[in-house]
């Protein structure tokens, strides 16, 4: 403070002196009390209490064994070495509480900035009148608007026909007491704050932690629109059984984390990991995040919550717009579906629907389907926005003249995503190939292939990451059978309304048959095709296949191939699936030649999280070979 008055009178001097002295006295008092609190905290060993460590997001590094905070933002810590020293952070936090600076748009006093820490430390140390108090108006306003009364874990499942999104996404919904509509509640979500315009760099940064991850909140109806209406993902809502103080703790800690940067890693420190960490703060005995060290698959975090007795009190299904559309389709006959299609596509004016001899009741149902289908086309097919809006308007004005009909509610799927087989897989098999017997062991961290038990997963969708298998041959050494980086298949059936394309892509190291011997190849393969639901238990597909190989063991390393394949997914019984497949591939490399491959794969599910498979194949190329493998799959 600069003193501007040149010649202060004696009176002013005295007053000034008095002020200074009382201030010193207060400071002295504070210093004493702070030392006192720090001593108490040491006696209670609060710096190593689970809640304190959770509040700081301290975790043991899986490799170095060093304990450090996952928060990557120096502003999250009161002490310079707060990220690695929980005791120093506690001492500095307590000191900070004594400085009650005014609250502004951009800064808050430490008591508000670290409001969860303040409340918890107060519970442990019982601050008395010597501790100054900040009123934290911004936090209070925020809390009041959110009005917490309950917490629901929200899981957005896969997009339809999109195996990649089988990974899922989780967030919290903070329910209000006696809320009239769930959609008005706020959500708490952790997301990478990236910029999609970064192009390829966007993907790279997302995977390597170069984007900051941030907590944010938004009304649930915006999320419902995003997931349900735009992306067509079914949503599952798991209501959590938490006490009011625990919910308040989640909210306070979310506030602390509001502006804190955690580097976002797609595979481990992702949305689901940080959502779980909030639950650990609310109830340290849960120890949920400790279960996830290397990777956090969103559905596994849901399973972890469900595994705790009594934590999940209710599960609710929120069908996506596409699921709603399918349910509408099932209430109508094929002629009515065709009428709806014609209206959506502009081939039949909605005003002329009454000339089509349909009862008003049916007319209403047809227009409802046409509305959903046209909205879907507008988004998925990127139809001209103006045309879609104009047609939807005509359709809805007409619809408002038809009667109210019973609301179509899609049935809740019999098996929830959290009830599907576990994400990890270990396999052991025996078999014979190129006249040699072998045993094979394999490991795959994620997630699902077409031969794995399907309940809880999307029909005809496959996504595998880092599938690795090795074989030990009789009279021969150990060989890497395959190391797949990514292997995705989407079999999307076509019908009256939908004509999606099916596709496959596979990248990794695998074995190819070259002139009677098996060789390691670095392979990139892609396919485009179509699929049809012949019956509910029968899915047929056909593909045009392309592949590129780099085979170091051959004189001519490279090869490009083109071919085709057809096959069936047949569920003979609920637990028994059979996949016959015929493929023809013409390779540019003569060592590989033209290959015909006949395959018959079969899977049986003897018990949950187990599967037994038998795979037969016959190769017809430069040489012939018949191979088989019997495999036991264990999911964990």
């Amino acid at each position: 403070m600069a003193i501007i008055n040149q010649r202060p009178t004696l009176r002013w001097c005295a007053l000034f002196l008095f002020c200074c002295l009382s201030k010193f006295a207060a400071a002295d008092d504070s210093a004493g009390y702070l030392a006192n609190l720090r001593q108490q905290a040491r006696t209670l060993d609060l710096a190593h209490a689970p809640t304190w460590l959770n509040l700081l997001h301290f975790k043991r590094h899986p490799l170095s064994g060093r304990i450090r905070s996952l928060a990557d933002d120096p502003n999250f810590f009161a002490a310079a070495n707060g990220a690695t020293d929980a005791q120093a952070e506690l001492d500095a936090t307590l000191a900070g509480f004594f400085s009650v600076t005014p609250e502004t748009e951009t800064s808050q006093p430490a008591q508000c900035r670290y409001i969860a820490r303040f409340v918890w430390l107060n519970e442990q140390l019982h601050f008395d009148g010597r501790m100054p108090r900040a009123d934290c108006a911004r936090f209070q306003q925020w809390r009041e608007a959110i009005n917490p009364g309950g917490l629901t874990l929200i899981y957005a499942s896969a997009y339809l026909n999109s195996p990649a999104s089988m990974y899922g996404h989780t967030m919290f919904r903070i329910d209000q007491p006696n809320q009239p509509s769930q959609t008005l509640a706020y959500t708490l979500s952790y997301a990478a704050n990236g910029n999609a315009n970064d192009g390829l760099g966007f993907v790279y940064k997302g995977l390597t932690g170069l984007y900051p991850g941030l907590f944010s909140s938004s009304p649930y109806y915006l999320r419902v629109r995003e997931y349900s209406d735009l992306e067509n993902r079914d949503v599952w809502e798991y209501q959590l059984n938490l006490t009011q103080p625990e919910i308040e703790m989640v909210l306070r800690h979310a506030w602390e984390l509001g502006t804190v940067r955690f580097d976002y890693f797609f595979f481990d420190e992702n949305c689901s990991y940080h959502i779980l960490s909030l639950l650990d703060v609310a109830r340290p005995s849960l120890q949920l995040t400790d279960q996830f060290v290397w990777s956090t698959i969103p559905i596994d975090t849901v399973k972890a919550a469900l595994a705790i007795p009594g934590l999940v009190s209710r599960v609710q299904y929120r069908p996506s717009q596409r699921s709603l559309l399918d349910a509408h389709m099932q209430t109508l006959n094929s002629r009515q579906v065709s009428l709806a299609r014609d209206i959506s596509r502009g081939n039949l004016a909605v005003a002329r629907l009454d000339q089509q001899t349909v009862a008003p009741q049916q007319g209403a149902e047809i227009i409802d389907l046409a509305d959903l289908y046209l909205s879907y086309l507008g988004i998925a097919k990127r139809m001209d926005g103006h045309t879609v809006a104009q047609r939807l308007h005509e359709l809805r004005v007409a619809r408002s003249q038809y009667p109210v009909v019973p609301e179509v509610v899609p049935a809740t799927p019999a098996v929830r995503p959290d009830q599907g087989h576990a994400s990890g897989r270990l396999t052991t098999g025996i078999g014979r190939q190129q006249q040699r017997s072998f045993i094979e062991i394999g490991y795959r961290p994620a997630l699902h292939d077409l031969l794995d038990p399907e309940p809880g997963y999307i029909r005809g969708a496959q996504i595998e990451f880092l599938d690795v298998a090795a074989r030990a041959y009789q009279h021969g050494g150990i060989q890497l059978e395959r190391l797949t980086a990514v292997n995705i298949i989407s079999l999307a059936p076509r019908d009256t309304l939908f004509t999606p394309k099916s596709w496959r892509v596979r990248v990794g190291r695998e074995q190819v048959d070259a002139a009677g011997a098996r060789r390691s190849s670095n392979t990139l393969a892609g396919s485009a095709g179509m699929a049809w639901d012949a019956r509910t238990d029968l899915l047929a597909y056909g593909f045009l296949d392309l592949r590129a190989d780099y085979v170091p063991g051959l004189a001519e390393h490279g090869s490009a191939g083109i071919g085709g394949s057809i096959g069936l997914l047949w569920d003979a019984t609920p637990g028994w699936r059979v996949i016959p497949d015929i493929a023809l591939m013409r390779n540019s490399n003569d060592a590989l030649g033209t290959q015909r491959i006949y395959k018959l794969a079969s899977r049986w599910t003897p018990a949950p999280d187990y599967a037994l498979t038998l795979q037969l194949s016959h190769l017809h190329a430069n040489s012939k070979d018949t191979a088989w493998q019997l495999q036991l799959r264990r999911y964990f």
Partner: protein, 160 residues
């Protein structure tokens, strides 16, 4: 694994990454989230739809119209309308649904009048959505008028 995924992505067209997802406060834009094609699939793996531009960062000040991540009271109805445009119009035309119930609750319609509210929205659909392109501001004003002209729902028009 991360490296391999990037490699997988290399094969895909970069144009797909230009897809944006901006539902800001007060922006009535229609979003087209492409859902077919390999690029989008892989994009879905990597972003997992977590690019929530339409969210409000907690305590990061204003992003859109929300302060500290919440919507101010006087804008609740407006933002609700913006955020539910398509769904709301569809449900209003049919005379029932969660979004219509949500709108009723936003403008404090009592539970007893919910059915009457939904019926009034359906009956007066063409007065509310007067043309294909109508702004949320107009829609809200039209709803206010419809309510004002209703014997039973008159009182609620003051809540808009």
């Amino acid at each position: 694994m991360k490296k391999y995924l990037v490699a997988a992505v290399m094969m895909t067209a970069t144009s797909a990454f230009a897809a944006t997802n901006n539902v800001g406060c007060g922006v009535g834009s229609m979003i087209f989230a492409g859902q077919s094609g390999l690029a989008q699939e892989v994009l879905a793996v990597t972003t997992n739809g977590t690019l929530g531009n339409q969210t409000f960062g907690i305590s990061s000040g204003t992003l859109g119209c929300g302060k500290d991540g919440v919507v101010p009271n006087n804008k609740t109805a407006m933002l609700y309308l913006e955020g539910n445009q398509d769904r709301l119009a569809r449900e209003m035309a049919t005379g029932q649904g969660e979004s219509v119930a949500g709108l009723a609750s936003v403008i404090h319609v009592s539970a007893a009048d919910n059915a009457a509210f939904a019926a009034a929205m359906k009956e007066n659909y063409s007065r509310i959505y007067t043309q294909a392109s109508v702004s949320s501001v107009e829609v809200l004003a039209n709803i206010k008028q419809v309510l004002a002209s209703s014997e039973t729902l008159k009182a609620y028009s003051n809540n808009i």
